[in-house]
Symmetry: D2
Subunit: 142 residues, 4 copies
């Protein structure tokens, strides 16, 4: 059987990460365009794969009772994506604190920006308390 | 502030359970109709609320490391639902074994059937092993 | 067969609208809490049912090639919701312009706020152009 | 900026198609495993990309008022997928009629089967009527 494509988790690039994704049936709504909440899925995949290429895996974190949680988002829906589109999710760290990171994210199609977002995330431990970010993450994002 | 409506978890009726649900934006796709996988969400809400009215709660089960899992489904998509529709989810037990239940489910709009499904579910314990169904469930479904 | 509960579309209240919704399996993720993008579904249901009780229906709008689109959101995820929770979605108009509305939305559980959002929406016509809001909406929101 | 990976739409292989996909946060539920209805999303992506490589595009079909609709599914959930998993979606035509196709689909992880499904789909025209399948699809699937 053939193998998973090399770029499945996207690529690290100068100052951040980029991930290409397809828009499928599931992402659209009856207006014919992508349902607004689905853009958050694309953005989350970008963040997850960025962390993955930095060596941080959700399943590993979960063994210690840790999970990333989004605390705050500002999102501009500038232009709509449509079924069959290929979109690029670009993620860049903006601020890295002890317990929180702020990421700047964009969704682009053929270089044109469709969505822009600012995402504040924290690492949550058992009981819901914010935890200090792993050193690997803080270094990579610095 | 006003209160949650009495029928939020649907109603037990002769031989089963019925739950009314609205079709929202999120449920549709660019064909203008409900996305096929979303019907499974409606069916799952019906099963969950049926169990709820029988006194079985997912959060309680989870404390003992238990969760219901679907093992097998046959589903007929007969007629499409559309945005703004109100649909009724009807659930009836068909077979109740020691570790598995088979449920018959229908989605109706104004008495007309849109979807028919047969769903086999099992109760899964820590490590993924099938567990004996709670006595309350077996009795209620008998 | 029994009927859909009276409160299925929520209720108009002083200065806005409230809708009660259940948290189901589909809304959660492997952290055990509600997946962040799912809160946007709850908020959108609140907005849709608010419009519905004001006499504006998505399917009617669609006949004229019109659909509401979210342009901008700021959202604070303050406390997590969990499976089996009943949450209240509160929606209030903040600003009503010719072509855009800004709504303030909250998600509460037992009176405690879980999520707060500011949502700017526009009515989009064929070709993606912003349209003047229906008089009924502007009056109701004023 | 870097380019979309070559394998984004999967690959045609002897007698069918294979597509690799990542399991993300959005796909899981509070049981820690993939939510059962999400497997249908993975399967649908496989079918869409198979058609895409055969030269059939949803957006093109939509211009003629055409869309594929699932009529019937039988699905076995044999083993669960988990977050961070890479899964392969395999799709093979089983029966190709004038207006309907039956596909056999499997979801595998490291060669081990997780899900098996039989999917009957039809091409639907304006007004909801089943249409004759495009010649390209019938030939390719033959």
């Amino acid at each position: 059987m053939c193998e998973a494509p090399a770029g499945l988790a996207g690529q690290l690039e100068e100052g951040g990460h980029v991930l290409f994704q397809r828009v499928y049936f599931e992402d659209t709504d009856f207006s014919g365009l992508v349902y607004h909440a689905r853009y958050l899925h694309f953005l989350e995949r970008g963040r997850s794969d960025y962390l993955r290429l930095l060596g941080v895996h959700h399943r590993e974190l979960a063994k210690d009772g840790l999970a990333f949680a989004v605390r705050r988002m500002t999102i501009e829906f500038e232009r709509p994506a449509r079924i069959d589109d290929i979109v690029a999710v670009k993620t860049r760290p903006r601020k890295v604190g002890g317990a929180r990171i702020v990421l700047h994210q964009e969704l682009l199609r053929d270089g044109e920006r469709l969505v822009e977002a600012s995402v504040e995330a924290a690492l949550i431990g058992p009981g819901g308390r914010a935890q200090r970010l792993p050193e690997a993450v803080r270094k990579a994002f610095d």
